[in-house]
Amino acid sequence: MAKAMREPTFWILTALVDQARHGYGIIQQAASLSDGQVTLQAGTLYAALDRLHAEGLVAIDHDETVDGRPRRYYRLTRGGVAALQEETTRLERNASTASRQLAARRHLGEATA
């Protein structure tokens, strides 16, 4: 069974699904997609990007220089897409199981009420 993905990793990969983004772009997109539930810290973001890059799930798309500062854009690789797909399936399966259990409990509650 595949290891569960950490929350920041999941949102970083999700933020990169539609287009390549730089650090702040990823932070903004993760916050937006999670309805403000996730605020990535810069330290956490770049540690995760380094790891994902080393694991081949994320690639460096291109570099820019803005106001003399280096800005790097990251994109998902095929491996990254597959990993995110696998995690999404796992989460759906877990949620589905939990929903079934909750429905059964409600049914049991009605029967014994």
Binding site: H22, Y24, Y46, A59, D61, V66
Partner: protein, 352 residues
């Protein structure tokens, strides 16, 4: 980067030099906070120090760096503690020692034995070269002064004398501890065969340990043997120096491990192996005694009183050979990184 707050600029120095610092500065400027919160600061510090190790997908390098930091931290604590002891007032001599002897042994001619004028003594009295090659003898410990009656023995009852000596010391301003019964233990019952007393007293950074015994060879009937050992207590600033050395040594060990790791990260398997394997093997020799020293360092604070020997004593006596070999192995890793390693190349964009 100059528009970034000083707090952020300082925190970014936790990261290895290179593009990442600029990239982070760009992100932090866009986030737009003037100064880091405590949580954000700790986050940058933690991940910056991790980035120093390179190999972002490896857990082993973190384990290795942590253990090396523990070893170098203990070495740092030993060095700074040793240096700080130089500032501690010397053991009493002359009138000051006479005053103590007069309080413990009033009206009795006494002798004072001090084996060395140095901080530590080693009965073997080895030269510096011998210490470097073979370490110290097993009796390596803090120098102390042993006071006692010239005749070695005092007439009378040791219990009565102990009570009176405690009273004299209290009058002289010493903080006197409870006297313990000493003597051989009966195996059958576990009881102590009461044949002496032992108590300690402290005053002005000094500790006195006074022991009376009646089972010493040649003790005349109706007499007892008595000694008063004068030691120095560990001042707070020596402990502070040790804690500083522990943190500084650990940080240095972590940074050097990171430097070796990053310089060899993208080299061939042979270079990587020659940097990695000696470091792990070195830890086998060094980590156990570093842990013992750390426990002793903490233990001496918990127990209190004057330390008999420094917390790193094992490493310069029985553990010396292992320690020396361990540091030689660390040296192999360092030399490998220096000679065969190269600064890690910056990752480039990949054209898909």
């Amino acid at each position: 980067m100059s528009r970034l707050g000083a707090g952020y600029r300082l925190l970014l120095r936790a990261y290895p030099p290179g593009r990442r610092r600029g990239e982070l500065a760009d992100t932090l400027l866009e986030v737009g906070r003037a100064r880091p919160s405590v949580r954000e600061g700790l986050n940058l510090l933690r991940h910056g120090l991790r980035a120093r190790l390179g190999r972002p997908a490896s857990t082993a390098v973190v384990v290795l760096a942590t253990m090396i930091a523990l070893v170098t931290g203990v070495v740092g604590a030993a060095v700074t503690t040793r240096l700080a002891w130089e500032a501690v007032p010397a053991l009493p001599s002359g009138e000051r020692l006479d005053e103590i002897a007069g309080t413990v042994f009033p009206g009795v001619p006494t002798t004072a034995e001090k084996y060395s004028d140095e901080l530590f003594y080693d009965l073997r009295e080895p030269s510096t070269a011998e210490v470097f090659l073979t370490g110290h003898d097993e009796d390596f410990q803090f120098t102390d002064v042993i006071l006692g009656p010239e005749s070695r023995f005092l007439p009378g009852d040791y219990r009565q004398w102990t009570v009176e000596a405690q009273g004299r010391l209290v009058e002289a301003g010493w903080d006197v501890g409870r006297a313990e019964v000493t003597g051989a233990t009966w195996i059958a019952t576990g009881e102590i065969d009461d044949s002496g007393r032992l108590f300690t007293a402290t005053r002005d950074g000094l500790a006195l340990e006074i022991q009376t015994e009646t089972d010493v060879v040649d003790t005349p009937a109706g007499s007892f043997s008595v000694t008063a050992e004068v030691d120095r207590l560990t001042p707070g600033y020596v402990l502070a120096a040790g804690v500083f050395g522990l943190l500084a040594g650990a940080l240095l060990g972590w940074l050097v491990t990171g430097w070796v790791s990053r310089r060899t990260e993208f080299q061939g398997a042979g270079v990587r192996s020659l940097a990695r394997e000696p470091a792990w093997l070195g830890l086998v020799f060094l980590l156990p005694q570093a842990l013992v020293a750390l426990v002793a360092m903490v233990g001496q604070q918990v127990v209190g009183g004057a330390p008999g020997s420094p917390f790193w004593a094992l490493s310069v006596t029985y553990g010396f050979g292992c320690g020396l070999l361990g540091f030689v192995l660390f040296g192999v890793s360092l030399v490998t990184a220096l000679v065969a390693g190269k600064a890690a190349p910056d990752a480039e964009p990949v054209v898909s």
